[in-house]
């Protein structure tokens, strides 16, 4: 039963990712990417990492992808964007990445067939509850967490700074127009 779920979710993830890469309409590509993320969340859940699955949906599908869709709506590219995108999808431009991805896929298959016993041991039936994730995040990995949060804070301050300058300039123009 679980194997069926696992493989169907994997097939959905693979198909959705391929479709996301090959669509020329940006909105459709994003929808396929969201489907792919949801399928990956199912995979995480089946492999005993419910917390990672929840975060995958909450952060990636629920927040980051929403912002992507938001930007696409703001730009509202339409037909022109689609034509441009179609130009980029020529055989010449994807043949090299395609070969590299194929090589990686073959490597993955070989690695899986060799170390099947170990991988099964890693993913068999042991669910990691959220408490354990928190314990390890704030236990042995606390330094990494702190550094990541520091970097994020720097990013936040930087984004705020850029956005603020933009607003001040616009207000200046507005005031000039009024007087």
């Amino acid at each position: 039963m679980i194997e069926v779920l696992f493989y169907s979710a994997s097939v959905i993830a693979l198909l959705a990712t391929i479709l996301a890469l090959t669509r020329s309409n940006a909105a459709h590509a994003l929808i396929y990417l969201i489907v792919s993320l949801l399928a990956i969340a199912v995979l995480f859940f089946l492999m005993g990492a419910p917390f990672a699955a929840a975060l995958e949906i909450l952060i990636y599908a629920g927040a980051i992808m929403v912002l992507f869709v938001f930007v696409i709506m703001m730009l509202n590219l339409g037909e022109v964007g689609e034509a441009q995108e179609r130009g980029w999808l020529s055989v010449k431009s994807w043949i090299l990445p395609g070969i590299m991805a194929a090589l990686l896929f073959i490597e993955l298959l070989i690695a899986l067939s060799i170390s099947s016993e170990q991988t099964i041991a890693l993913t068999s039936g042991v669910a990691v509850p959220p408490k354990e994730v928190a314990m390890s995040l704030f236990g042995p990995y606390v330094l990494a967490v702190e550094i990541a949060s520091m970097l994020l804070l720097a990013g936040l301050v930087g984004a705020y700074h850029l956005g603020r300058r933009f607003i001040v300039r616009r207000e200046g123009v507005h005031e000039g127009g009024d007087s």
């Binding site: 309409n25 909105a27 459709h28 929808i31 969201i34 419910p50 917390f51 699955a53 929840a54 975060l55 949906i57 909450l58 599908a61 629920g62 927040a63 929403v66 912002l67 869709v69 938001f70 696409i72 709506m73 703001m74 509202n76 669910a127 509850p129 959220p130 408490k131």
Partner: protein, 319 residues
Amino acid sequence: MSELGTMVFGLVLILAAVGGAALVTWFERRLLGIWQDRYGPNRLGPFGVLQVAADMIKLLTKHDWVPPFSDKMVFIFAPTAIVVAMLLGFTVVPFGPDLYVIDLNIGLLFFLSMTSLAVYSVLLAGLASNNKYALLGGLRSAAQMVSYEVFMGLSLMGVVMLSGSFSLLDIVEAQRDQWFCIPQFLGLYVFLIAGVAESHRLPFDLPEAEHELTAGFHTEYGGMKFAMFMLGEYLGLILISCMIVTLFFGGWLGPWLPPLLWFCIKVFIVICFFILLRAAIPRPRYDQLMSLGWKYMLPLALFNLVVTAVIALAMQGQG
């Protein structure tokens, strides 16, 4: 519960949620009528309750039109997303000590992720309609829901800290001595407002503000597709009410009466409160909505988080 029992309960839950959402549309109009000194729908059946059936027949027999200028696949997909996401959200709600579909140890996160997926319905509807008003409505709702989601999650972390679990069953059990609405008063306040904004109910229904955006994201929708949006919205209302009851008002806990009845009574009261909000409060401007969110609600949620953490830590040190 056995696997079969869970399946049957899940089916009953879907029917009850959809039926409940349909009933709430009628109940809301009646209650609004009373508060606004008029009758509301009172002609069909006892107290006008058959108005629901009449509305349904009307919507079902309407022409199911897909605008030729729209992005057809996305246009048809959009209304289903919100209904599916909201119905999935119901799976983690515990209606009684043994009455639940699944007790996930990430129950709360599951609920949050399902509400965040519901955004897509509105966004994609706005995008696929290929219409200025729909696009503006979709953009607004994206901004509104993404910003209110942030502190919706944050406001619940106090509850998680006090109960020490993401599982909704454990959270209810942790409220045996005291409901979380008292120690987590600020959390409840923030969650309530975020909940109204997430389900874009009337004080915060800017995505579909009819006086400026005709009907916002569902301008181009009619018939059953429009009905799906309405169904999703009312399912969201019921789901948020269920979560408020579970997280802050002790879920099924209560003396004398059976647990399920207690749960239903509490949910009913919260739904009445939401309808009262709709009747009593005018719609804010869009910039007011955003500044309320980021300037007041987010700091309040963070303050609540810090204070709860300090108190929880101090109590742990004592005990």
